[in-house]
Amino acid sequence: MVIAISLLSDSFLTPDNGWNILRQISVNLCLSIGMTLIILSGGIDLSVGAILALAGAVAAGVLKNGIALPMFDILLQFSLAGAVVIGIAVGFMLGWFNGFVITRFRLPPFVATLGMFSIARGLTMLWTGGFPVTGLGEDFSFLGTGAVFGMPMPVWITLALVVLFVVITRKTRFGRYLYAVGGNERAARLTGINVNSIKIWVYALGGALAGVAGLLVTARLDSAQPNAGLGYELDAIAAVVIGGTSLSGGRGTIMGTVLGCLIIGVLNNGLFLLNVSPFWQQVIKGLIILIAVAIDRINANDQER
């Protein structure tokens, strides 16, 4: 695919465009890492886009206006770092709530996170009153638009997360248990793994990563949009699945997801560069996803038999 696009457009294989693509996939990648963990554990999360919006809005809000505690007549002001921590914490808590509901009441993850989707969207609207929170300052914007050593900040951040979660999934007990829970929940439980605690952690991490993604989006636009992240959950799931992770859990890798995000990113970028009409873009994108995954399947089957 990469070759085909580069043949058709000279602007494709330029360093600038390379950074462009990486910067553009960073938000999806952030969500997709969390989604990979969740899907590996045998679950799904439809609320990450909504959590992204709420986390971004809360971080922006506290950064700009602080938090007023009228009963104590106090206005808490937040530094940049404080706002970042709060944004991630909001994501973490909502994710934790997902995990809690799923394990405690045995709700199907699909339903539980669909509920959270609705709740978090509503809370975002309530928090912002439907208006974007803007003017967050240079320092905060730097997270989304700055670059260090020529590499954009969002790329640094996502790169760090990729490394972190590759290590977690491959080298730690938590990572191992994740695969075990997703691969055979009953066996994992009988072997003495605290399945519920693993699941709660997984959703909480997914939420925290959605929080990071919310910060990135907000910093990039220098504005927290109340309807940010609409539909991003499907993009994230698509990236994870295209990256070879099985929706039934237990099988897949973070690196596969990175590849999945890249495929989608290159596809989006390439279709624009080739000046395909927006309507045809959708058709072509659909077809390419089908073809890409079909080829992957055919190769996998060849190896299997």
Binding site: N17, F131, D222, N268, S277, F279
Partner: protein
Amino acid sequence: DKAEQNQAPTSKRIAVVVSTLNNPWFVILAETARDRAIELGYETTIFDSQNDPSKEAAHFENIVASGYQAILFNPTDADGSVANVRRAKNANIPVFSMDREINATDVTVSQILSDNYSGAVLIGKEFVKQVGKTGKYVELLGLVGDNNTWNRSKGFHSVVDRYSGLEMVAQQSADFDRAKALEVLESVLQANPDINAVFCGNDAMAMGAYQALAASGKAEQVKVFGFDGADDVVKLIAEGKIAATGMQFPKVMARTAAESADAYINGKRDFPAKTPVGVELVTLDNVAQYSDFGRK
């Protein structure tokens, strides 16, 4: 600058970045802009931001990277789009915004805007005129995250709220969508069968609301007010079935933007920071002068 050095352009190119194509109003805007730019001799591409400032950001990056000469821009959000436009400005690509305002004056060359607030004030006045100073009404909001939704709502209320006899019995969102408006009004009518009017944030919702009323036999009794000047609504105004709408001029805005960009590329530099394109009130009295999204 860098972009221009990298890509010695083979031909002159203009990008049209539109907030969404999921609404015919914007399809008109984008396609008119494109067609006019092509007429003026540019290779032109439409970029659909799908109502997402982040997707818009990606478009701007790609546009900057591949060296367009100008951007005709319909922003997804007044605040969320500022950073994107600044990016283009820093790459010396002139941006002309259409229809929706962005909250920064220094980044676009010119903003060719629909005056939503004033238009809604006009609707508000017509509303009081037709409905009277007492009555119950419902407001259908557009997408709650969209600032045109609120500009229109505020403009409308700036007039109507001065009459304490006009009671808003429900305010609900129908996302600028015809099907949703139909359903929302059906439900709202159950609780409030005795309303006198509905104010809708756009014409797609006005159509949905009208259909709900028609289906429950209340079309005569309840006056519907819309915003946009869409085909079906203009026709229904002519038939006396919808009370009024605010006519926007997407085609005018799009052509003006394209022509301004062409002038800029040919060396012109002094543009008004804002070119407001007035929203005109369309009622049964003057409907003959209008067709869809413009004057005849």
